[in-house]
């Protein structure tokens, strides 16, 4: 059995033409996932026939922690997994408690995260900085700084903010947002890990004062009237890497054909997820207990980007809160793996070295993405670019990232881990 390329015509027509009819039995791919909206492309590939058309049956297994996902991929219980983009990068660098190699040949789309603070903390920011409620993310960060300065002066306990995993987009985004506002994430607040489904409870119990997690948990906190959304991922850096499909390198080597077909299936599923008319159906399937088990209404509003940011009813529309396919949202830019590396260096998770710089490039595999999909107008021909350099893709602080000069980039941030500062991160 050989993989027959699906051809140019199908790429043009997008979703309608089925792949070559296959008589052999479907190839089983075991895939781990965490119940989050950004697992949508993987779930849609399995549920709406995109995988079947490529002769693949995806066996989806729901899991509860990123550590489990990493270990079960490493221990061959999964062939592929829904992963945080920094996880394969961390593994390539030997970081974490099980740095087993993983490669990312496909990004699961853009967007999905947000930063939520407790209503109480936000009200204090409003009072202190005169916020009306529609200010941008940077203004909100600066208002938080004013409140934290006041807290320090009065000897109050500093805010505790939750994120999801040490090697997560949430960790780096939250830190990026705080420092853009002039706050040091290791001195002015305390960062802890809170599993996403527990964020609302932790917020209402007062165990944390805010968090950065993926959808739908920010919206859930607002609907439960305990949280106030102050920034979304797009505000910090629109094309920042989020979740990926991670695979074990030796599985990818032993099953090149299956991986290729899988990428085709994911590509079609992602395009389908981007069609606004399909978002209702997508929300319906994601709402099911075997997937997210979250009310349909919340999922649908998240998917169409209709936010209630404040329990008082303040609305915000973010039309591209989720981009599953457009704008090259699935292309694994090596420069984005390198950006993740730059943040790991910035926050002292790893020291910069040329060797490390090279190792990072092996974590993302644009070559496998191109192999599967062929040449297409929307597929970049280079693997590296200056990030944050496009008109519609700027960082919150206006900086640009040149992967050729990671050390210079890190040094350009006035707020970073210098290896000497105090850390109040260790106790929970």
């Amino acid at each position: 059995m050989s993989f027959i390329p699906t051809g140019i015509d199908q790429h043009k027509s997008g979703l309608t033409a089925p792949a070559t009819i296959r008589t052999e039995s479907a190839k089983l791919v075991r895939a781990g996932f965490i119940p989050l909206v950004d697992a949508a492309v993987l779930i849609a590939a399995s549920e709406f026939g995109f995988a079947a058309r490529e002769g693949i049956q995806i066996d989806l297994v729901k899991d509860v922690s990123w550590a489990n996902i990493r270990d079960r991929l490493a221990f061959r219980q999964f062939d592929i997994a829904h992963m945080l983009a920094p996880m394969p990068v961390a593994s390539a660098l030997g970081l974490g408690s099980n740095p087993s190699p993983a490669i990312a040949p496909f990004m699961l789309g853009r967007g999905g995260n947000a930063i939520t603070l407790s209503v109480e903390l936000y009200r204090r920011m409003q009072e202190k900085a005169g916020l009306a409620g529609h200010e941008d993310a940077l203004t909100n960060a600066k208002a938080l700084k004013l409140v934290i300065e006041e807290m320090r002066a009065k000897g109050e306990a500093l805010p505790v903010l939750g994120m999801t995993y040490p090697f997560s987009s949430h960790n780096y985004e939250l830190r990026y947002w705080l420092s853009a506002g002039g706050l040091h994430p290791e001195e002015d607040v305390k960062l802890v890990v809170v599993p996403p489904p527990m964020t609302s409870d932790a917020l209402s119990a007062g165990a944390i004062d805010g968090f950065c997690v993926g959808a739908p948990w920010n919206m859930v906190a607002v609907s439960r009237e305990v949280g106030r959304i102050v920034a979304v991922k797009e505000d910090i850096w629109p094309s920042s890497p989020e979740k990926v499909i991670g695979a074990r390198p030796e599985w990818a080597e032993q099953n090149p054909e299956t991986l290729s077909r899988l990428i085709v299936a994911l590509d079609r599923a992602a395009a389908w997820c981007d069609v606004s008319d399909n978002r209702r159906e997508l929300a319906q399937i994601l709402a099911e207990p075997r997937y997210l088990d979250v009310p349909f209404d919340i999922l649908h509003r998240v998917l169409v980007g209709q936010f209630t940011t404040d329990p008082n009813g303040t609305e915000r529309t973010v039309p591209e809160y989720f981009t599953f396919h457009r704008q090259g949202a699935n292309f694994p830019w090596i420069s984005q793996a390198q950006w993740i590396f730059s943040q790991m260096v910035r926050w002292g998770q790893v020291a910069y070295s040329l060797e490390a710089h090279r190792q990072v490039a092996s974590a993302f595999r644009p070559d496998l993405y191109r192999n599967a999909l062929g040449s297409r107008a929307d597929i970049p021909v280079t693997d590296v670019r200056i990030e944050g350099n496009a008109e519609d893709d700027v960082f919150i602080d206006g900086a640009t990232f040149d992967p050729e000069d990671i050390r210079g980039y890190v040094a350009s941030f006035p707020i970073r881990n210098t290896g000497s500062g105090t850390t109040n991160q260790s106790d929970v």
């Binding site: 922690s65 550590a67 079960r72 490493a74 408690s97 995993y165 890990v193 599993p195 106790d427 929970v428």
Partner: protein, 195 residues
């Protein structure tokens, strides 16, 4: 090198944790600490510095531990169990049983394996126990409902207890249903018809 290993069990299920603790003590381990609550866990790990941490794989709090280990400046960094992956059967058994573990890097595998094997077998025994308990409960429920159905039939059809039971069983066989299901229907019908 032969110093007693310090073992921490983190399990929100107190009964299961107690069962594992008992097993470890029986096996001669004296340094065993059991924690049920995520609050204060970090401090406990810092104070005790366990060589082995056994943790329920179903808890999302594993990611919190990962964060903690990332921050620790100690040389003895914990690593996920069986990172050398040479023993895939043990790993499979552990994951299936729902056990996960962290082991301080550098600790010899022979010293850790009996501890993990013990945890795996006790986790399994616990699941079995739970299943048996659930089965026993439902068996008891079934007996109760059958008794009630018999009582209804004896009264309304003027049957002896044996005859009532035979009628239920015959109906179940004819309908290819479980005896308890037929009994349930009788009880429900009686309730609706008020007999």
């Amino acid at each position: 090198m032969n110093a007693a290993l310090s073992i921490m069990i983190f399990d929100e299920n107190r009964i299961r944790a107690a069962i594992i603790e008992e097993g470890l003590r029986e096996a001669g381990h004296t340094h065993v600490v059991v924690l049920h609550d995520i609050v204060g866990l970090a401090r406990q790990i810092e104070i005790i510095g366990p060589d082995v941490i056994v943790i329920d794989i179903e808890t999302p709090n594993r990611d919190m531990l990962e964060h903690l280990f990332q921050l620790t400046r100690s040389v003895r960094k914990p690593i996920a169990m069986f990172v050398d992956r040479s023993d895939s059967l043990s790993i499979e058994a552990a994951v299936e049983a729902g056990v996960s573990a962290y082991v301080v890097d550098g600790l010899r595998k022979e010293r850790v394996k009996p501890i993990l094997d013990m945890a795996v077998s006790r986790f399994k025994a616990f699941s079995r126990l739970q299943q048996e308990l659930a089965d026993a409960k439902s068996a008891l429920e079934e007996r109760k409902i059958i008794d009630r159905a018999k009582g209804i039939l004896m009264k309304s059809r003027k049957l002896t207890e044996d005859e009532a039971y035979a009628l239920l069983r015959q109906t179940a066989m004819n309908e290819k249903k479980k005896l308890a299901d037929i009994a349930q229907s009788v009880v429900m019908a009686a309730a609706i018809l008020g007999s």
